[in-house]
């Protein structure tokens, strides 16, 4: 099927605006929709057969943003977009949204996420779609056709919508940290039990750092923060004129004036992945992370000592990243080699 010209750009523009608005509320989406008068996307004089085909293709384009690896906010935006397109279509009987069997558990998980984070308007929209029987449950996502394609278009994921591939976070999750804390406590108690003084463990038995779990959590939080900051910085730099060389970026960065900003700029130039976006739900989870670890010392403000310790770790990470093949999408041209080490 040949694509509908211009549709992908329009959808991405709308979803991009939604992402910028940094919210998942339906009212905002509806405003953006009304601004663009998106319901007119089906207009234009055409007969019923062509209209059916066009609507099918439109729904197919919109539907692909609904699944991973897109960020949470984009997926909610895609849900709203599907709802809007399904209701605004002019075909009678309405064309349906195809969902493959393998994607269904992900959608259910997504719905559970929505309910857990109390985004009740999104959950309601989804329920409305289900009630309106808007889905076709199919075996395979794409309906096959028989034209010989001139070139195979590979599915292109818009980089900005992708969730940050946050391997650190997926490894050190909430549960893992809780487990570690439990084991740590248990271990300390065991040490107390077998040592002479019942209230605290023997000096000879202290083989590990006592607060290592807390440190681990702090490092993880820092990493996340760093990622967000890097993304924000990149976004700021991208918004300025891209044809200017990095002199302007230099002044932009210097105006921040701190050593930390310089370090971030260095990391930006060496970074290997494209723009990432911290999703709204991540922020929710961050809050939970802090509160689950009891104690007021789990603040986000790292102390100096911790920072210098984690800095080499971060640097080491970046070295590895530099060695892997870099793919810069939309990055400004770096004129001179950055030799700060």
């Amino acid at each position: 099927m040949s694509a509908v010209p211009g549709l992908k750009e329009d959808c991405e523009e709308l979803l991009g605006a939604f992402q910028q608005a940094d919210t998942v509320r339906f009212e905002h989406f509806a405003e953006l929709w009304r601004e663009r008068r998106f319901h007119t996307v089906f207009y234009g004089r055409m007969r019923a057969l062509e209209r059916n085909k066009l609507t099918k293709k439109t729904l197919e384009v919109a539907q692909q943003y609904f699944f991973p690896p897109y960020a949470f906010q984009i997926r909610v935006g895609a849900l709203y977009l599907l709802y809007g397109l399904y209701n605004a279509q002019l075909c009678e009987p309405k064309q349906k949204i195809r969902i493959a069997l393998k994607d269904w558990p992900e959608i259910q998980k997504f719905q559970q996420d929505l309910l857990d984070s109390q985004h009740y308007d999104a959950a309601y929209i989804f329920r409305r779609l289900r009630l309106a029987r808007a889905f076709h449950f199919t075996a395979m996502p794409k309906l096959l056709t028989y034209r010989t394609k001139k070139k195979i278009e590979e599915s292109y994921f818009k980089e900005e919508f992708k969730d940050p591939s946050n391997r650190v976070n997926s490894l050190i999750t909430n549960d893992v940290l809780e487990e570690l804390m439990n084991i740590h406590d248990h271990y300390q108690k065991m040490k107390c039990v077998i040592s002479a003084d019942k209230s605290q463990p023997d000096k000879a038995l202290s083989l590990i750092k006592d607060d290592f779990v807390v440190n681990l959590k702090d490092i993880t939080l820092e990493h996340q923060e760093w990622q967000q900051n890097r993304m924000k910085l990149f976004r700021n730099a991208k918004e300025t004129d891209e044809t200017e060389n990095k002199k302007k970026e230099g002044t932009l960065l210097e105006s921040e004036g701190s050593e930390r900003a310089n370090a971030l700029a260095r990391i930006k130039y060496r970074s290997y992945s494209a723009v990432v976006e911290a999703s709204k739900s991540r922020r929710h989870r961050q809050v939970q992370l802090e509160s689950s670890e009891s104690g007021s010392h789990c603040g986000k403000s790292p102390t100096r000592s911790k920072k210098t310790r984690s800095q080499p770790a971060r640097r080491g990470e970046m070295q590895v990243a530099k060695e892997t093949a870099a793919r810069h999408i939309g990055m400004p041209i770096i004129v001179e080699e950055n030799s700060d080490e």
């Binding site: 211009g6 929709w33 207009y43 234009g44 004089r45 019923a48 057969l49 009987p93 076709h136 199919t138």
Partner: protein, 307 residues
């Protein structure tokens, strides 16, 4: 309410693309429409388009009169593409096919009965000397054997006593030497429903009848039955798309579809030559019915007969 947020506030004509649009889609579409308006004199649906649309949508939403014929929830709907065996030069790039919707609980024999192929209607034999005695038996009645081939198993039609196992030849051939095809089995078609099969979507399978008329079968889609679909079991397998083949017309009158084809005809300008019934008799037989000239005549069934 939420719906009101989506729809337009004032009365709008969906046919007219509004002037102040900021959607790229609409801008492109508007240009295309304008160009079409300039170049096409009459913008009306042609026959083929009407046929395609009608076939796609004629059965949507139908409900049966008899409630026992209602299809239940959870029934699977398969979209089966059956390709024509005709090989015309113009079909090089995309072969024509017909699309049939089949229920999961239907037997393979039901699909087989619904496949309409022109080779079923052929009448064998040369009838120049006795044109009135062209027999009524068509090949479909004479040669009833057929088989499907899905995933290494041949499903043979064994409903009638004269059906033979056409797949036996193939199985014997593959077993005679070690050709790398393991485990080809042969079973009866009427014992199986589509729910029993394991199929690959998009993978070509085979339907063979009349001994050597082969059709490629591709399953393009499997999905659950939906409220808006046709829920009358009697209408399935449902034909929703058919390729329109142009029929060959009689060489003389150019109006009627050809019913006879002649070879080595001294009265005809080309070999082979097609005639409709009336022109054929008028040219080749005199008033008493005697044969004039030398020729061989065969009854002809045009592939476009199913239009």
């Amino acid at each position: 309410s939420i719906d009101m947020l989506m729809s337009s506030e004032k009365e709008e004509d969906p046919d007219v693309i509004p002037e102040d649009n900021n959607l790229l889609t609409l801008r492109i579409r508007k240009k295309v429409l304008e160009r079409r308006e300039e170049t096409i004199i009459v913008d009306r649906a042609c026959r083929q388009e009407t046929l395609t649309y009608e076939m796609e949508s004629h059965a949507t939403g139908k409900r049966p009169d008899n409630p026992t014929d209602l299809i239940e929830e959870g029934e699977l709907l398969l979209t089966v593409n059956i390709f024509y065996p005709v090989i015309f030069q113009k079909h090089k790039d995309h072969k024509p096919y017909q699309t049939v919707l089949v229920l999961g609980s239907q037997k393979l024999t039901e699909l087989k009965d619904s496949i309409s192929c022109v080779s079923d209607l052929q009448i064998g034999g040369e009838f120049s000397s006795q044109p009135d005695q062209a027999p009524e038996h068509i090949s479909k009645d004479l040669y009833k054997s057929a088989f499907f081939y899905f995933e290494g198993i041949f499903y043979n039609d064994k409903r009638y006593p004269e059906c033979r196992d056409l797949s036996r030849t193939i199985i014997e051939w593959s077993e005679s030497h070690d050709r790398g095809y393991e485990n080809l089995q042969s079973v009866k078609m009427e014992d199986y429903v589509f729910n029993d099969l394991s199929l690959k979507i998009g993978f070509p399978y085979l339907f063979c009848h009349q001994g050597n008329c082969e059709h490629i079968i591709i399953i393009t889609d499997i999905r659950l039955i939906h409220h808006n679909d046709c829920l009358d079991r009697n209408l399935y397998p449902l034909l929703i798309k058919k390729h329109w083949l142009c029929t060959r017309k009689c060489f003389v009158c150019k109006m009627y579809t050809a019913r006879w084809v002649t070879n080595r005809d001294s009265l005809a300008p080309q070999d082979p030559c097609f005639f409709c019934d009336v022109c054929f008799r008028m040219l080749h037989y005199d008033a008493e019915g005697n044969k004039l000239g030398e020729f061989l005549a065969y009854p002809y069934v045009d592939p476009g007969i199913f239009n």
